[in-house]
Symmetry: C2
Subunit: 387 residues, 2 copies
Amino acid sequence: MPFVCICFWLKSDYMKHEGFKVTPWEVKGDIDYEKLTREFGVRHIDDKTLRDLEKFTGELHYFLKRKIFFAHMYFDEILDEAKNGGKLYLYTGRAPSGPVHLGHLVPWLFTKWLQDKFGATLLFQIPDEEKFLFKDNLTFDDTKKWAHENILDIIATGFDPRKTKVFLDTEYAGHMYKTACAVAKKTTLSKLKSLFGFGDSNNVGEFFYTCMQSVPAFLPTTMEGTPTKCLIPCAIDQDVHFRLTRDVAPQIGFPKPATILSRFLPGLTEGGKMSSSIENTAIFTTDDEKTVRNKISKYAFSGGRENAEEHRKKGGVPEADVSYQYLTYFMEDSTKLKKIYEDYGSGKMLTGELKQITSEVINDFLSEHQKKREAARDRVDDFKICD
Amino acid sequence: MPFVCICFWLKSDYMKHEGFKVTPWEVKGDIDYEKLTREFGVRHIDDKTLRDLEKFTGELHYFLKRKIFFAHMYFDEILDEAKNGGKLYLYTGRAPSGPVHLGHLVPWLFTKWLQDKFGATLLFQIPDEEKFLFKDNLTFDDTKKWAHENILDIIATGFDPRKTKVFLDTEYAGHMYKTACAVAKKTTLSKLKSLFGFGDSNNVGEFFYTCMQSVPAFLPTTMEGTPTKCLIPCAIDQDVHFRLTRDVAPQIGFPKPATILSRFLPGLTEGGKMSSSIENTAIFTTDDEKTVRNKISKYAFSGGRENAEEHRKKGGVPEADVSYQYLTYFMEDSTKLKKIYEDYGSGKMLTGELKQITSEVINDFLSEHQKKREAARDRVDDFKICD
């Protein structure tokens, strides 16, 4: 059994918050993933499923070993389908309201791994209308600009151009709106109010949008002309959309989509989720080496003690340390990671050294990503579909 | 001043109802057009506007003389634009949930006249999702079938193929959804509830749909790349959609559309509006001569007296007589119409004779329409746009 770094830091005594909130638009507070799993009615990825997957794929992504992807719905059915040689689709997305940060990349990196292992076609939705509808000052000119920038990051993630279709909702609506209406017909206002917490002062686009987010889960069936299974890798805050999708699917003649759900990459300064809209919490994919070093050095919440002496004596708390958490997401080598966990926990490693290692790991990752991102400028047409 | 047949029959003592209801989905009861005009905040088409229009077009359509088109918003601005040689668009529509009846043709016939007189491009929306969303048992297979059938009637109306674009919302959504979202962003649930009387048990598509009905009013500007005026000829029940459109337009950078509004062609058996969904109230464009004669003879509500003797003595009530009302819509010759009005009112003409005349007028009209409708089967591609 490989080393498993369970990310229970948010529940540690070191950082105790009362309550938390997880919606597709807001993640706040001390997230209790156990509670979330129960409340959302999703399942933990159990050891049997992991063994079955490993048997099929030959290896397990460290996101699975470390329980970064930790929950699912119907993933076992996807695995059965794959074993039987059935055709599979993947579907994930990115709402284009700003630059891509490391937190966005987590599901994408995992999706790429799944695409490689399953040979699956990936539908990559850019719901440009979502952020437009939810953010007062965001225009469609803004979303267009960010969509273009974000697609560079998507391509840089390494998806197979022959098997990846990236589309903007407002451009691809000719292929989506009809199915969105089929979803809408089965979706009352009461249901949306209770699922999303909307009220009558919300705009009608905010209510309707979730129908468009359901559509790519059904496109595989439309595209193949036969019921085709779809797996959605995403962060757990998106699950509410797909609960609705799963509910509606059989009513309108589509297979229910499966989901595989991740925890959130924490923001630099606080728990919850890395977010572009909270200052100093995000490392962007375009940040240069110095910026990354500065951000981590200045803002990354530390699990260290008050001073070096205290730290050497009592040891740090890696579960509470944001730099350490980042290593669980970006350092693939589990032996090295375990050593850091132990050295930091025992007090042998100080916060400064841990931050140094994390900066290097992230900068190595970003250096590669940025090269691919630049090269992607000429490749947008290989990935994007409009009609 | 030509003979004006004011259709005040619904307010006559002969047929007194309490209350009425006019929504885009339901027209019920004894319609008080005066009250409707006030409540909807639209304006009567006054004599000055009619004189100005006649000066520009050289003649007035008898729908205007007879106050069948009786109300408007901003029609005077459209006229000014036309006088100044500005480019104009027309926009009307047809939701495809069944066969076309005579009532549907009224705004189309007038729209054709406007197209001829103004040389305007016509956008003809087929909101196939509307009826799908509002009618429980209607499928998209049904709307597809009816859309095709209805387009034959649209073409038979005689629109200029070089200046007419017919489109289904679900097919043309790639060009509409983005603008619909712009409308949606400015439209709260509260507003839709108060405008349309929806509640939380309505489906979310019913709420969102009106945003799509706004879009063709803005397409002229999008298509021309410069603010371009749009005139919407339609029955007055559609005005509520365009009140919302007018409200949102300046907020999202489009000119407010103008409307020109008609009364309803009454159903055979009752007042209100001819409707496919109420049995025996509709004459369809595909009805043969005998069917039309039978329907009028059997079902057309009569303004005659209890027996011939009584009728000769007291005279009939043309304002209450559905057959007579139909003549006001389909008999162009105002001198003949006036004579019938007088003869029926004086008791000289009996109900049977009136029904005979109405059957002939409608059958003459339909015979021509049906020939053009058959010829339209090969012309659909000349009118329809998908992308």
